[in-house]
């Protein structure tokens, strides 16, 4: 018992002395988790993307075109610069801005007349940097809704609207081949629109102070339903990235510890241990315990930061969460011992441990969620204890499942850990004779 505690205390003291290991274990995972969490959707709201640079040239200067410009300017997706045509072309050509739009003179009148005469439709020029195809297609996709809402906004400028209606009426009356019934219908609806605008003149006057560019509502509404079990639980990309990154660095430090154990076995201090009345079981148990404590400290630090600074919440069961963490510590510690026992020499162990840990991490979904893998890889992933652990942590954090969701993963981790411990117990030679 005393020897067991002495070994644990020594290992922890040695570990705390090792600055590199400390940075690797506490600082790097937090930074990486913050970074990856940000990439994979942050705290569940809209992902914070950098705005796309967009140059706009308004050669029309009508209420409608100004409305479209305003619609783009008010959208945080774009960082809009309004300029003249030459400057706009120069900027895109120089690659300083990926996309641009030029609204031609007569844009708004032609837009309305284009409804009736397709050859009069205005031509909007889309400038783009060929290396920014994504931005180009995004802009193209947004062009129609922006023009609709922008023009509508412009049209709601009463004077312009009524003027357009008057011109529309003239056009309708002039169109000789239009069947009488349709002419009547169109004139009727224009009259209604005119009346609407007239009534609106009053309300515009009244609410002028509160006026902001109100977008016309789209004809449909998107109802997002992120599916988590607990009301109020929201997907948090950080929950997943902190789980994955802390496990990654725990396993990387376990490689170091496994190699360190073998280096220590070759050293004089190990001879002293062997000369003392100390059993192999006490030694292995002491090592496993100190490794598990080191692993635990990483999870504690990582999740403390995740919870206090990144809004990660344990929406599931705290008990389940702690159980998963402890099971992961047990698994990591026995993995280190098994790697040392199988590898036998420091070099061989490193050579063995690095691919094993990388596979455990990659297929376990520590870096990228495993659902994007091809199906046969996904099948293999199901066998990764690391994957069980990360899924179980997800279950207890943002998914908010109840404690029963971790029973199987925890049992699995404990079983595999025990198997690895057994391998270490059978195969670890502590005589430490080189090459024999």
């Amino acid at each position: 018992m005393d020897s067991w505690i002495a070994i644990i205390r020594l290992d922890l003291a040695l570990f705390l002395r090792d600055r590199k290991a400390l940075v690797l274990l506490y600082l790097v995972p937090v930074l990486m988790a913050a970074f990856f969490g940000q990439l994979t959707g942050g705290t569940g709201g809209k992902a914070e993307r950098s705005a796309i640079g967009l140059v706009l040239v308004d050669l029309d200067g009508s209420a409608a075109s100004r409305g479209v410009v305003a619609a783009f300017t008010n959208d945080s997706t774009f960082a809009v610069v309004v300029t003249n045509e030459a400057a706009a072309r120069a900027r895109v050509t120089a690659g300083r801005v990926p996309v641009g739009l030029i609204f031609p003179p007569g844009f708004s009148t032609n837009l309305l007349q284009g409804i009736f005469q397709s050859d009069r439709r205005p031509v909007v020029t889309l400038l783009f940097d060929p290396s920014h195809e994504t931005e180009r297609s995004l802009l193209e996709g947004m062009l129609v809704p922006k023009i609709v809402s922008g023009v509508a906004e412009g049209l709601l400028n009463v004077d312009v609207g009524r003027d357009l209606i008057a011109r529309g009426r003239t056009n309708i009356l002039r169109a000789e081949r239009l069947p009488e019934i349709q002419r009547r219908l169109l004139l009727d609806s224009l009259a209604q629109a005119d009346a609407f605008l007239e009534s609106r003149r009053m309300s515009v006057v009244q609410t002028n102070a509160a006026a902001g560019p109100a977008e016309l509502p789209l004809p449909y509404r998107v109802d997002d339903q992120p599916l988590t079990r607990v009301a109020g639980a929201r997907y948090n990309g950080f929950a997943h990235s902190f789980a994955g990154m802390s496990l990654q660095f725990v396993l990387m430090v376990m490689i170091d510890l496994a190699v360190g154990l073998l280096t220590e076995r070759q050293s004089g201090t190990f001879r002293r241990l062997r000369a003392a009345p100390l059993s192999r079981a006490t030694l292995l148990l002491g090592k496993a315990t100190s490794y598990a404590i080191i692993a635990l400290s990483t999870f504690v630090v990582s999740f403390a930061v995740a919870i206090s600074a990144f809004g990660v919440r344990i929406h599931g069961s705290w008990f389940g969460f702690v159980a998963v963490i402890l099971a992961l510590c047990y698994f990591s510690a026995t993995l280190a011992l098994a790697l040392a026992a199988i590898g036998r020499t420091p070099k061989a162990t490193r050579g063995l441990a690095i691919p094993v840990v990388l596979i455990l991490l990659m297929l376990g979904g520590a870096w990228i969620p495993s659902f994007i893998f091809p199906s046969w890889v996904r099948t293999v992933s199901l066998w990764m204890p690391t994957g069980w652990g990360i899924e179980a942590l997800d279950a207890m954090t943002w998914r908010g499942l109840d404690v029963s969701a971790v029973f199987l993963p925890v049992a699995g981790l404990v079983a595999v850990g025990t198997l690895l411990g057994g391998i270490a117990w059978r195969r670890f030679r502590w005589d430490g004779e080189a090459g024999s």
Binding site: D2, L14, S267, G268, F270, R271, A276, L278, S279, G435
Partner: protein
């Protein structure tokens, strides 16, 4: 000091054999050590000294043969009888990243010194080797000599009665070396049983009552120092050092080599070194021949019988690469 034949045998090796692959590192070694005895284990590199120690302390299992500690064989790794042994490993066995106190505290706990007694055990071990004032410094900052002293202290924490010292002064400056010798002499005075490996006959002469010479895994001599000295006195002769008034002539070498029973002759300017079979007869004959040749002698001295010569004679090998 204690060569009492009636003292109990505390350590016995019977026909120990240990192989590494097809190399036999220890090849049928047998010896006994009695309580309070101080035994030097002398041998060149690779003789099998460390391997023998490793078997005694349970680090290595012998391929065959038997080891008895206090009359009993080690039955398990946790055998409490191990507490009677204190090992000073040949390679420094310390955690450089930790301070001296923490190192000793750990080794004390591992040796089964109770928690409450550890601070006192550590304090007195540090005091014994004269490192009390460096107790809280990182071992990595110690000089080579200080590390060696701490390496010794780490073996003393559980107050073992048998000490296995594997080249405890290797690579150490004369000052620390003397400090360690003083420590070992003090341990001997306290009645500890010492088994001491070295490449230096002079260390054995200074610290031990008995010497076991081992070469290529076999024991070639196991005898008391007194008897070995006697053997050296008769068998290996003496070394004469003569300083002449004038540089030696070319013919002197031939003159001296003519003397019956003469060994090597080395002449360098005024200084002459001659090995003779027997001190009394050899020296008078050498001086007589010099007088006959009319060579004036400024000084004359005879070296005491040299035990290293015994080793050379017995093994045909030098103890160290010179």
């Amino acid at each position: 000091m204690n060569t009492d034949r009636s003292a109990p045998v505390v350590l016995a090796a019977r026909n120990l054999v240990r192989r590494f692959g097809d190399r036999t590192a220890v090849d049928g070694v047998s010896f006994e050590v009695r309580a309070g005895e101080s035994v030097g284990l002398l041998g060149p590199n690779g003789a099998g000294k460390t391997t023998t120690f490793s078997m005694i302390t349970g680090l290595l299992r012998p391929d065959s043969g038997e080891l008895l500690l206090g009359g009993a064989a080690l039955v398990s790794d946790t055998d409490p009888i191990k507490r009677r042994l204190g090992l000073v490993p040949q390679d420094l066995a310390l955690y450089e990243e930790l301070d001296a106190r923490r190192n000793l505290g750990f080794f004390a706990a591992i040796q089964g010194v109770g928690q409450s007694r550890i601070p006192e055990a550590v304090r007195s071990a540090l005091e014994f080797v004269g490192l009390s004032d460096r107790a809280d410094d990182r071992v990595g900052t110690f000089s080579g000599g200080m590390k060696r002293r701490l390496n010794l202290a780490a073996a003393l924490l559980h107050d073992p009665d048998i000490l296995l010292l594997d080249e405890p002064t290797v690579g150490v400056d004369p000052q620390s070396r003397n400090a360690i010798f003083d420590n070992i002499a003090e341990l001997r005075r306290r009645g500890k049983t010492l088994l001491y490996t070295t490449h230096y006959m002079e260390e054995v002469e200074r610290l031990c009552d008995r010497v076991i010479i081992i070469d290529r895994g076999r024991i070639v001599v196991d005898d008391s120092l007194a008897r070995l000295r006697h053997r050296a006195g008769t068998g290996a002769g003496a070394e004469l050092r003569i300083e002449l008034e004038e540089p030696a002539s070319d013919t002197l070498s031939g003159t001296l080599r003519d003397i019956p029973g003469i060994g090597s002759v080395r002449i360098d300017g005024r200084s002459v070194q001659v090995r003779v079979g027997s001190l009394a007869a050899g020296s008078s004959e050498v001086l007589r021949r010099l007088a006959e040749a009319g060579i004036a002698v400024r000084s004359f001295s005879a070296e005491p019988p040299n035990l290293e010569a015994v080793f050379l004679e017995l093994t045909g090998r030098s103890l160290r690469d010179s």
